[in-house]
Symmetry: D2
Subunit: 358 residues, 4 copies
């Protein structure tokens, strides 16, 4: 029951990497909302592998079919189900992982969890491919949120040790949001792209992979959204974002760096802006105080671990024969998923935010 | 509805800092479990202010009264309710915060959220005092978990820039766990205490506060616990730990640092130990792969922001008069809550883990 | 985890009949709502035993203490906890029920469920006394609902074979609602009271008990509230009302009788009333179509089984000695709980309706 | 968010009568369970229209395609999604219902709920066709339950005033269960079929419809399953069964009839059977005491209202023109859905029971 998220807007994700299809049911969408499916597809293309040399060579249409919940271009209020057929699956590539779990993959943990009955081909239900469903759901939600004045944008904060310019957390300009929302390699400072690609290329050349950090901002939420304690902005967003495979850390505002500061450095002073609105001069709190929005942008970062699949030989165990063995994952090698994680994390945030505001 | 947590074991927290009482209802506890209330009280004393010069001068008995759910020293299976009366409240200290929200506090966000009807005295329902309920619930759960072989221990990973020795994430010795579980200033390396107290004392002397990081380990969980996607170990623990006020980041295993690594550096190789059990040589994954336990200790860190309340004068707004003002919080000044956050975060983890294993 | 109800407004009930106290936490109440606690107490007195010869001789203050969630007479938006101390408990009356489960009571089922660790005194957490918490929560909700134009009233539809006049389901007059809301023996036709009391008295005289049916109406909900399938009006109300001990059936509108009809008899024709509002001429649908309100009153009936505790000797088993035995419950004998069930069922409906409209 | 049911096993239902497809995602199925899809299809055929003169003339393959969650004939532990394509839809039949809501249908309530954006063709998401998803999910669950010794069988308790022989609630023979599970017109006493068909035929001949009651038994559950208050057997089953369109009442054991009895008549005496198991001589409690199973069969009845669609002319309103009008539903006329409701109600019970035992 782990693949259902949300209280007011529920998404239920299904599918396995090499099964017939993947998909998502979105329950609780408002009725009568216009959804531009071309824009949804554009968001899905940002996540789709292919079309970028940092990505896995598997090329997929990733074209969702809407089975329910829409009439023409409008939501009906009934659950919206979208299905994406799996094609171009090459299960043979994964021939030995049933016996030899891939380091840092879910293989071993899932093997124990499901008593060996799980679909291991391509990672099964744990495959990164399942994030296409999150992007679909998020892209639908984002169009509804946009009409309420809420925008979500993320960028590659870092790959390895190469850093983009961080967001100014007190103000996320609309033009920046729009530009980022259209890019496959989303950067605040595009001039850093070459260095980042070099870092990826270096790892790739060695048969290795590399991780990074995605920074995400939610702009336009009014103050007063959220609940104390366990229903807070941070809890709900983190619960969604940790649902993105490879995310191992989530921090809001000044986050871990802020914990090394003094109160006088980290506290954000309030002031009235020119329109009489209460704002803070800095945004170390990342847009949420006591779990509730302050009216400042929500800003968080998600740590994305390096892709586990590498062609460098690694030690692991042979579960069938009970002995040590080695593993080298050839052919299907995605050296850096951080650029593709950008729309996924934006989308997970969008689903979380819908649950906060509905 | 933000103060309820859990699916299989539900805790419902209530209370306001300067109201009649605070408390918690724990629904879903197994029946017939012996609970040593002295040990529960010891855990609550670790969180309680007073008895340590880093803490707030407010001294409270924090003695919970059990209203239901226990017969003698055993759980009955019915909801367990514990209530802690509020005493020693000095509301006058907070006289002006209704009009002038404290920077980095929930005051302003809550004011908007509740249309001004919320209890602002002492932070109301947002007060750190409410974490006593989490410690109570966690202390009860930890005794049940211990009998299942599951131990939870945390330590002060850092205060400001002073760092303790991190856990060896591949092995948390029982003696270390037991020692840490008994301490009010829990450190892997106790020799660092003096330096940490100096950092706190320096901040205190200036009327300032200081943040830090708590590292927490859950040892003894078998492999195969958890769910994919949104029901994973990380999601459930993060959703609980972000319920602790002042926590602004949560990372598992190598976390943010790991995202700067190569796959070959971050991947954890599997091996068979001398007992034929599958283990990993390193534990950069922090005990969960694909959301499911690997059998290695769960290790995570939580960033605790510096206490917002400082006596240094800060700029803020006067909501009643619509003008800028300044604020200096005298008298009640807790320069560093990180030591007291240790048992709270252990307890939030305990409640989360109960939900994973039940 | 069975004693928590609701998604948007959550109530968490605790307590055992002969423990220290019973109580309820209400999470998700709107802030700034005025609550007249005298009116709440009046509702609780309608349920309280004593003051009426049909009721159990146990007399209790049933005076709730508010521990949190209110400032003066207003809700703060934080969880509202009310506690009612147990007094006047005479556990000796129940001396033998640990070994000999009472027929039709939860004793045996709970004994197995909790491995014998549950508190059996007075029925423990399964005691009808726990319904005081439902009345408390419902009385709070009803004041909020009333300000939104929503009224809830129930009456004794029948005791044994003595029937009150049913509601006219198409229109519940305000005066009737107000009268019923103030009565301990609520009847549409008060002239039937004597006959009903005779039926109760006859059962009482024989050491027996008698059941009945409560009919409840929710007036003033606009059309369009609720969700299809499992989130419908009927599902949510039934899930709450079956939480009232002794309720064994729930039917809406024409219910079971309607299932024996033809469509042409049971269908409710639509028409425009003098104000241009869409209404139905009859209300066999009980106010909900497809799970969603039609704008007509919600009308449902709940079957309340005869109180299990009777002083007539009954056969049962001796669990300790593994042999048959007999049981006669002396002293504490409530011959008919139907009158007191009226405010409990109104209250369960109120909590359900709050979850539908929030 | 109304089309998601369950806590431990979650089903998420989607689809609209005349959309592309309907389907269901089942999240939380145990892994490694063999599912005989032919048996699933047999159950679906029991519900499918056609093949029986009491049913709607619409003939559908109702052949579900499994998109995920199975490998060969075994569950993988990942969410199982099944999709059924819609074919043979004749939207023209429903040309005027957008403006003229059908009496007793969801049309008007849904129109208000969704602001007119819902898919009205064939009832949209409210169509009885959606129950195919419940049967699919239930049929999968029933195979898993059967291996745990739990069987579920229902029969047509009544159509109009024609009654089948009720279950003996103390014992449901295996042969009876198996026979009923294979029938499209399931009766304890098959000799009553002719009379029932006559009642249906009479209604049909007049262009009318007729309702009935389905009685359902869950045999083989041990004592001690369930939770007090809101997590009880009755609450969970009722919350699921009220999800079946047309169900307007649910009663357990002696239900409404029992509420007219004396305690001495309705109480079920305990005894030890020949194997030393605790049983009750009668089963007026319907298998649950205090919300928890007693070890006796769970027996409940669901009132199914007469199908709203009739060709007899009915009065209704013209929402577009704001005037009264009349409506006669030609062509698509299902005079009695009670026989087809049998497998749907068995299936809803199965999903509920899975949530109780997991």
């Amino acid at each position: 029951m782990g693949s259902v998220f949300g209280s007011k807007l529920k998404i239920s994700i299904f599918g396995e990497s090499h099964g017939a299809a993947i998909g998502v049911v979105i329950d609780g969408l408002p009725a009568g909302e216009t959804i531009d499916l071309d824009e949804v597809n554009r968001q899905m293309q940002r996540r789709a592998p292919g079309g970028d040399k940092t990505a896995t060579p598997r090329k997929e249409a990733d074209a969702p079919e809407i089975l329910s919940g829409m009439l023409g271009d409008k939501t009906t209020g009934a659950p919206l189900c979208a299905v994406i057929r799996n094609t171009n699956t090459r299960s043979a590539d994964y021939g030995n992982i049933m016996s030899a779990p891939r380091p840092a993959h879910s293989d071993y943990a899932a093997h124990v969890r499901y008593g060996g009955a799980n679909d291991v081909r391509g990672g099964g239900h744990f495959s990164g491919r399942l994030t296409a469903n999150i992007v679909f759901a998020g892209a639908v939600c984002r169009q509804i949120l946009k009409r309420k004045g809420v925008d979500i944008a993320a960028h590659i904060y870092s790959i390895g040790n190469v850093l983009d310019t961080p967001f100014d957390p007190t103000f996320i300009p609309t033009e920046l949001i729009e530009r980022l929302n259209g890019e496959k390699f989303a950067l605040v400072d595009p001039s850093i792209e070459e260095k980042m690609r070099e870092a990826v290329g270096e790892a790739h050349a060695k048969g290795d992979s590399i991780g990074g950090v995605v920074e995400c901002a939610v702009a336009g939420l009014p103050a007063g959204i959220g609940e104390p304690m366990f229903g807070g902005v941070e809890n709900v967003i983190a619960a969604a974002v940790f649902g993105v495979p490879a995310v191992k850390g989530v921090e809001f505002g000044s986050g871990f760096a802020g914990s090394a500061l003094l109160g006088s450095q980290n506290n954000d002073e309030f002031y009235f802006d020119e329109n009489g609105a209460v704002r803070t001069r800095t945004n170390n709190h990342g847009g949420a105080l006591g779990g509730i929005t302050s009216g400042m942008p929500i800003v968080f970062r998600a740590a994305v671990k390096p892709t586990p699949s590498i062609s460098i030989e690694q030690k692991t165990v042979d579960l069938q024969n009970g002995c040590d063995t080695t593993l080298s994952i050839k052919g299907r090698h995605d050296p850096c998923i951080v650029p593709r994680a950008v729309p996924v994390i934006e989308s997970a945030a969008a689903v979380a935010v819908m649950n906060l505001i509905l």
